[in-house]
Symmetry: C2
């Protein structure tokens, strides 16, 4: 298919590359920044475009790979058409695209991705939704060309998946950061814990986390919990995190 990509960030780069590798034709890349737009256009053998209204009119699908807050404003600059217009946000509605036509949808890759860091797109779960059957089918087919893991989910489900992803990724990364802070305070390095982090992630690849509970809270070991809180007594923020998670573990084990 002929695809127009709006945006030049991490998602635009990885989705564009995956679509190009699947023999789709990226007709143009629209961006504001000359460097990143030219760079991505070159990578995708596409035209670089700097004015949304000037996008290649041969495009059958327009993908908005832009920040959540920009979706509505970008869509308002597109002419109304029967093209499929989709955005890549995990949380926002396709209704934000209403100015651009009636064939609207979601094309959300559920993975963290960075330009320049290789990614096996076949394993990236694609969450797809369409404002009507044809649009949903078009996006589903497109997704199936780049990934083996396609999921048709409605908006509410996608929002719950998004909040679950915040727990599973953003919050866990923050806990690793707090662990690093604790170690750095003692002139120690996160390398000490990297084997443990790698192993716990490997374990959850094959098991339910509910089967992998370990540690003082899971054991109801209040001696160690109190001793840990004592060590953290000058860190009110870490203490708050420690307490709320310990409380939650204690409740879940009942």
């Amino acid at each position: 298919m002929k695809i127009s990509i709006i945006g030049t960030g991490n998602v635009a780069t990885h989705i564009g590359t995956a679509l190009k590798n699947a023999k789709h034709n990226i007709v143009d890349v629209t961006g504001r920044n000359a460097d990143t737009t030219n760079e991505l256009a070159t990578l995708l053998s596409a035209k670089a475009n700097f004015d949304i209204a000037n996008f290649d009119s041969s495009a059958e699908v327009i993908l908005l790979c832009v920040k959540d807050d920009a979706i509505g404003a970008v869509a308002a600059l597109l002419p109304r058409s029967q093209r499929v217009v989709a955005h890549t946000s995990g949380f926002r509605s396709f209704n934000l695209l209403a100015a651009a036509g009636d064939n609207l949808g979601i094309f959300y890759p559920l993975q963290t991705m960075k330009k320049g860091v290789a990614l096996d797109f076949k394993k990236v779960p694609m969450l797809v939704e369409g404002s009507n059957e044809t649009t949903a089918t078009t996006l589903h087919t497109l997704a199936a060309d780049i990934s083996e893991s396609i999921h048709s989910v409605n908006e509410l489900q996608r929002q719950y998946i998004h909040v679950a992803a915040v727990f599973a990724n953003n919050f866990t990364n923050h806990l690793w950061e707090l662990a690093e802070n604790i170690l750095n305070e003692q002139n120690l390095n996160l390398d000490l814990l990297r084997p443990l982090i790698a192993r716990s992630a490997e374990n959850v690849a094959a098991h339910s986390p509910s089967q992998l509970r370990t540690g003082p809270a899971a054991r109801g070991d209040f001696f160690t919990i109190d001793a840990h809180l004592n060590l953290l007594q000058n860190e009110p923020e870490m203490t708050a995190v420690y307490k709320v998670l310990t409380e939650s573990i204690l409740k879940n084990r009942i």
Copy 2:
């Protein structure tokens, strides 16, 4: 060296196996449960022993691989000797072993391990401490035979490492469990998030988590934060966890 192992659990099994593979002689395995004791003794080509006082007197090193709360009671059953007596707890003092002599120490493998699940022990950080130079050297040498990652740390450092490990492992596993609960409520499966979990763990293997911050709190995206809290409004426990971690991320990004 001739080593006597007390305990038959996950740590006893993996440490015993690693020591045997490094050509040390496990003279006996002491346990209460006949099945697990005989099983581990067979695995380690050692005698099975069921009475602590009857341990093999040729042992040069005694390793207590028992629960934290049992360390003191087990040590009290050992005769005072000049042997090296060490325990494998990440949190407790070697002073708990005082009844058994003066050459006391810590031999703590900083990894989560389960019987029957293979482990590359060479990569397991070993935290070692001795009540005197000779003991520390003996335990350091022993650790170097089974691991490439040996760390001489004092008790306070080891305790901070232990609390950091709770953040990096126990708490992250709990967040994965909460994510699974959210998905299950929507009749969805954790498989949706497993690629994301794997990728975020891979990322932290090579970067500081402070360089990997993503998500609504890291962006200061209060629209999404409020919408997430709205989705969780019937889950007071998850709401508490969401709020405290979001708060902590917001503070750290300043």
